[in-house]
Amino acid sequence: MDFALTGEQEALRDTAAKYLADDRGAGDGRPWTEVDDLGWLDAELGTVELALLAEQLGWARSPSPWWATVGLAGPALRAAGRPVAAPATLAWAWENGPDTLAEAVAAARRPTVTDPAATGARSSTGTDSAAAAVPSSTGDVGRGGTPSTHTPGVGCAVAADGTLTGRAIRVPHAVDAVDLVVAASGPYGVELRLVDASAVRVTPAGAGGQALDPSRPVSTVELTGVPSTLLVAADAAADVLALTRRRAGALLAAEAVGVAARALARAGGYAATRTQFGAPIGANQAVAHPLAECYGQVETARSLAYRAAWTVDAEPGRVADQAVLTASVAAREAALSACEAAIQTYGGSGFTWEQPLHHWYRRAWWLATFDGTVADVRAELAGLLLDD
């Protein structure tokens, strides 16, 4: 048992902090190539290393599509033996379902009754050589069944010619993506397929400054007979989606810790220097104690986020699922609490547009509501704790 970062992990974190600290303005404007140059897309990085980067990006409230690329699209691309290089994202939620990543995993696990003669990729030995890396485990699925054009409840279908049609909702960073990974129903069940993002119609939600967090844009994505390439066939898609959900969730928990830590650091700095009634406001316990409580929330959330990241690689399956859900609850709550405490500590100036706290607060809310509310996460956790 050794819950300490290695020297390499610390160096990765510190380099990221240094890189993100240089001031290039709130709009960022860092070229994507720098992310690659820094090695943040390397296949060797484990989930703990990725979580350390996510935490720093949360601290900086970076608008980079890095999380969507490595967290959402990465597992499918890697499973297909493809490099993760260009900005990428994943479409899993569709207008007529599934809605959440959990539902997408469940849909992919659903056995389908299909016609073996139907066009489409049934296993990794299908027509697409890119999928050769995917292990085949359920080769008997659908044998002797009746033809089916798509899995019930999945709002995007793979046509006989491999084209996709459907309306994806809440796709993060679709506006930045070059590669779009799509969870669509093929004749043998849910498949993960790759689409050229320039071939789809992307409509950002909340355009015109109405987005909750403009630095983490989500969009509706319209696919109308768009050509696609198979990444992960139906026999392995559920496992890859489950990994995606764990990996993306662990990284967001770490990002939320970074958001919380930044808000707390700002609040602490302000409370120590802002003077009223002849003394720094932080000398008042009514100001100081809520920040001490936040510190406790941030540190326990950090422990849980690192631990969750570790389990994603080391103890995949139920242990990791439970650890990620636990970290998500703690980190989402810590981010919201710390931002709210910081805004209150700043007083009137904390409420202004000019004071950048609201950028972190918006990100905190984005995190708190991504793919379900905190109450939804607790409900799922309760199922794991009480129902077996």
Binding site: F3, A4, A288, A292, S303, L385
Partner: protein, 386 residues
């Protein structure tokens, strides 16, 4: 980072688990409810303590030359997790084992070490701590108990309160003023006092739970040999801080292990009372679990820092604060789950007792207000607020 047990740790854990399976007396009643209070049958605790010592599980982190096993705090953490998992009672001399013994090892004389340490390990002598006073609660440096020099003796007069385990203890680590000319942290000494000495009166303090696990100790001209002073005369503040630092080392594991037991009992109660399908109850149980896990993994992070730097990381400063809140919420939830049951069983008195007892958690061992002050000043760098 590797959150699994090492091969040695896994072996230790397996051995301990096997030993506990045969050594822990069954204490639950027919309805599965545990006994009230921490101690239950005191004779059973004494014999369990002897068995614990015979099996080599007393003083795990004490150096081998002082009768311990010389193991790292990681093993103490495993011990605390496994004993909690087995719902075992504690070694009867927790204060001696966890605080007074390590203080004597760090600051005591060779004679003190030779006499006290083996007896603490076996449970033959039981220590309590005499630090707090009626006028020195959170502000420990305000102690008024006086130890006046008279030849080669000290004559102790004063009153100590909130000494836990004092109803069982026969010895006390006492903080008293030896130099009346000095103020606050200076001129204090730490003394090892036999509570059977003439002039000592121990009065139990009855708590809101109805039981008395704390006591008030009155010292009326109690004569203590000068060689009972731990460390140098008038250097007691440093010695007392050594004692309290040992409370911080793996104490978080003790607290979390107890919370772990309480959480499993909460789940059992929810199921027994058919409340585990209520969405509001499920939400609350999940929230309590998140708090428990946050403590568990923060302890382990702190332990890693302790192993590398010799001091626990700053994050451990919030363990006691957050544990106390989590435990209060948990016991309140449990009592609400009991409500309205037609046929009360053993769980009803158990949870009502736990709920009342948990109110002390945000007061004992550093009030939440003092702990928040410490975090604000020492970790967040805010100005002193008092």
């Amino acid at each position: 980072m590797d959150l699994r047990d090492s091969a040695e740790e896994a072996e230790f854990r397996a051995g301990l688990r096997a030993w506990l399976a045969g050594a822990v007396p069954v204490t639950t009643g027919p309805d599965g409810a545990p006994p009230q209070g921490r101690w239950g049958d005191i004779e059973a605790v004494r014999s369990y303590t002897r068995a614990l010592h015979d099996a080599g599980y007393a003083g795990l982190t004490w150096p081998a030359e002082h009768g311990g096993r010389g193991l790292s705090p990681a093993y103490q953490a495993i011990y605390l997790e496994e004993t909690a998992r087995a719902e075992a009672t504690e070694h009867i001399g927790v204060i001696g084992l966890g605080m007074v013994g390590p203080t004597i090892i760090a600051c005591g004389s060779p004679e003190q070490r030779a006499w006290y340490l083996p007896r603490i390990l076996t449970g033959e002598i039981i220590f309590c701590q005499g630090f707090s006073e009626p006028e020195a609660g959170s502000d420990l440096s305000a102690v008024r108990t006086v130890a006046r020099r008279d030849g080669d003796e000290l004559v102790v007069t004063g009153r100590k309160v909130w000494s836990s385990y004092a109803h069982l203890a026969d010895h006390c680590l006492l903080l008293a003023r030896t130099d009346p000319g000095q103020r606050r942290h200076r001129g204090l000494s730490c003394l090892l006092v036999d509570l059977r000495s003439a002039g000592v009166t121990v009065r139990p303090i009855r708590q809101m739970t109805g039981e008395a696990e704390f006591a008030e100790i009155e010292f009326d001209e109690v004569r203590v040999p000068l060689d009972a002073v731990v460390g140098a005369v008038d250097d007691g503040w440093r010695v007392a801080m050594t004692t309290l630092a040992h409370e911080r080392g793996t104490f978080g594991f003790t607290l979390t292990a107890r919370l772990d037991v309480a959480f499993r009992r909460l789940v059992a109660t929810a199921k027994a009372r058919g409340r585990d399908t209520d969405p509001l109850v499920r939400d609350q149980i999940a929230a309590r679990y998140v708090e428990l896990e946050g403590l568990r993994w923060t302890n382990r992070r702190g332990l890693a820092a302790l192993a590398r730097t010799g001091v626990p990381g700053p994050e451990t400063s919030v363990i006691k604060l957050r544990w106390s809140q989590a435990h209060q919420r948990l016991t309140s939830l449990a009592v609400q789950l009991l409500g309205g049951d037609a046929e009360p069983d053993g769980w009803d008195p158990y949870w009502r007792h736990q709920m009342l007892r948990s109110r002390a958690n945000t007061i004992e061992g550093g009030t939440s207000e003092v702990l928040r002050n410490l975090v604000a000043e020492r970790v967040l760098g805010l100005p002193r607020s008092y």
